[in-house]
């Protein structure tokens, strides 16, 4: 039976550590970077910022006069510190909806996505 030397073990372990670190770091490096905005707290409510920005582009095509700072103020007031899921279902119960690319979305979620799209430039 062939044995593995201590030197080989250390070399393999080190190589694996470099590959893992490189992979994670690479993803971080490749990930789209966003400049900070005054409404990052709202964008953070979306679980995937890139996906939110993609949806937000289609929402922006549906809404007029979208001014991000003012919209962020209004959204914070509407959410009023509640969990997002609660705020959204309450909003939907009142019929507050927006379309994005044909998708019928809770209005607040669509507007958060629109903020993400604005932030993405």
């Amino acid at each position: 039976m062939k044995t593995v030397s201590r030197r080989q073990t250390l070399w393999l372990g080190g190589s694996a550590a470099v590959l893992v670190a490189g992979g994670v770091g690479g993803r971080l490096l490749l990930r789209k970077r966003y400049a900070p905005t005054p409404y990052d707290d709202l964008i953070a409510l979306a679980h995937d910022r890139d996906a939110a920005a993609q949806i937000g582009e289609t929402v922006l095509a549906e809404v007029d006069d979208f001014e991000p700072i003012a919209m962020a103020v209004r959204l914070r007031a509407r959410i009023a510190g509640r969990p997002l899921a609660t705020a959204l279902t309450d909003d939907v119960a009142k019929g507050h909806l927006v379309e994005g690319g044909g998708w019928v979305l809770p209005e607040m979620l669509g507007l958060i996505c629109a903020l993400a799209a604005k932030a993405a430039g």
Partner: protein
């Protein structure tokens, strides 16, 4: 014993006498003849075709069309015993009470009868369709072992049910000609003439009474039928044609003193793939996706706007069906993942299905049938259909779909994508129910309709119409079981009126 007579064997010049002549051997004509079986009335049923499809006879339906997209006039119906039941889908559902009402938001709405006037006839109508016990909105009580309706919560749309016609366990649905030929032959005072085309209603000089029907065969025989009363049951297009073409006494056509015959043509648009239904928790119950048989009934669920929603939002009736699976694009995947996460639900096993629909459209007097100068093989003028569709009808259906999307989100069970917006997109998706309605609409006012509440043609004492052409508005229910209920009500009326 009743008789099936080949009209091609009737010598030209013959005059056939009867108490009642029924023109057309589709579901309406056959059901009326059977409903009068136990009376003393001598009935003649005149059917243009034979027992099976014949291309030359079918070509008598040929016509033209202009305007919005629609199927050819020859394609959407069948001209032999059993009529269009020879290619129907068997979908059954009674109209709703609100469908009969005059509604401020729907021009020309309002039947001269109510749903209650028809209710007692639906059991027999269902029996004729071989559609089993009437369950409909009570079907959820018998389908629990199959699955549960969507938990849509409060809102505008709700799960409701279709039932289906069946002839035998392996044959679906009932083809009235094949199914009831033997029953018709058992009716002692009934004569069914096959290959018999009615080409003219011969009116008295004042145009107030049908004295005789002119009948012709494609091989050149011509004879007449004289009856105390006549019922036109030849379908929503052909009944209008026969009235319009019988214009030797009244220049605008029999029963058409007020230029109403042929107007208000309607059908149910069926926009395919009009939306995508996402259910976060997985597949919908099987009864949404196809027919399920239980308790002796064949059932399928659909999503319908409630009466309250229709009134509040002034929308038309519609019946939404869940169709095949679809794939989402990148935006769709992003929308589902982002929305489900924001709502705090797991969408890892979400299902995605296309939605179909049967739509009601607004009555329109300019969506109409008119005669042309072209003639068919029997010398009858051909028809032209002037087809129109209102953008508002699509907009109202889209509003209904959006409410479904809202309910899915509020109940956190799913979401919806609307696939169609522009007129071109709607037109490109359009299929049709092939439900020809409206062309001899019912009204108490001769200026607003062709037949009265008893289905008698205004101004013509002994002429009636049976079929969906009398519907003033159309609902979203498939017409057959509803027109059969009207036919059975007409049979009761004729039993009283005819000596």
């Amino acid at each position: 014993m009743g008789a099936f007579i080949d009209a091609r064997t009737v010598p030209s010049g013959t005059v056939v006498h009867a108490d009642l002549a029924i023109v057309g051997g589709g579901p309406a004509g056959i059901s009326l003849a059977l409903a009068l079986a136990n009376t003393k009335l001598k009935v003649v049923l005149l059917e243009s075709g034979g027992m099976a499809f014949d291309a030359k006879t079918q070509s008598l339906y040929d016509g033209s069309k202009v305007g919005a997209p629609y199927v050819t006039l020859e394609a959407s119906r069948l001209r032999y015993l059993g009529g269009s039941s020879n290619h129907w889908g068997g979908w059954c559902r009674p109209l709703d009470a609100v469908d009969f009402e005059e509604r401020a938001w729907m021009p020309y709405s309002g039947w001269p009868i109510t749903k209650a006037d028809l209710d007692r006839h639906f059991v027999k109508a269902h029996e004729l369709c071989e559609a089993g016990t009437l369950y409909y909105d009570g079907a959820a009580k018998i389908t629990g072992s199959i699955g549960q309706p969507l938990a849509l919560g409060t809102g505008g749309l709700m799960t409701r049910w279709f039932q289906f016609s069946k002839m035998r366990s392996s044959v679906l649905p009932t083809h009235f000609g094949e199914r009831y030929a033997s029953d018709l032959k058992k009716v002692s005072r009934l004569a069914v003439y096959l290959w018999a085309n009615v080409t003219r209603l011969g009116l008295n000089p004042s145009g107030t009474y049908v004295r005789q029907l002119d009948v012709a065969t494609l091989d050149g025989k011509k004879f007449k039928v004289r009856a105390k009363a006549c019922v036109l049951a030849a379908g929503g297009i052909e009944v209008a044609r026969l009235l319009l073409a019988s214009n030797d006494v009244i220049k605008t056509g029999a029963g058409n003193s007020h230029d109403m015959v042929g107007r208000f043509f309607a059908d149910h648009p069926v926009p395919r793939d009009n939306a995508v239904l996402v259910l976060f928790g997985g597949e919908p119950a099987p009864f949404y996706l196809g027919n399920q048989t239980t308790h002796g009934a064949i059932l399928r669920a659909g999503l319908f706007p409630s009466e309250h929603f229709r009134r509040e939002h002034e929308v038309m009736a519609s019946s939404i069906t869940v169709e095949g699976k679809v794939e989402l694009d990148a935006l769709g995947k992003a929308a589902v993942a982002t929305t489900a996460n924001a709502l705090g639900v797991d969408a890892s096993s979400a299902s995605f299905h296309s939605l179909g629909c049967g739509m009601e459209i607004t009555p329109d007097p300019d969506r109409r049938l008119t005669l042309t100068n072209e003639r068919d093989a029997l010398g009858m003028p051909k028809l032209k259909l002037h087809m129109r569709l209102a953008d508002q009808d699509f907009a109202k259906y889209r509003l209904t779909l959006k409410e479904l999307g809202r309910q899915l989100l509020e109940s956190r069970i799913g979401m919806l994508k609307l696939n169609l917006r522009t007129r071109d997109e709607w037109y490109a998706s359009l299929d049709w129910g092939n439900h020809h309605m409206g062309t001899t609409r019912m009204s108490v006012d001769p200026k607003k309709g062709v037949v009265d509440a008893n289905l008698k043609v205004h101004g013509v004492a002994n002429l009636y119409v049976a079929g969906s052409s009398v519907f003033p508005t159309y609902g979203a229910a498939n017409p057959t079981v509803n027109l059969l209920a009207l036919v059975l009500r007409l049979a009761d009326h004729l039993k009283e009126e005819l000596p």
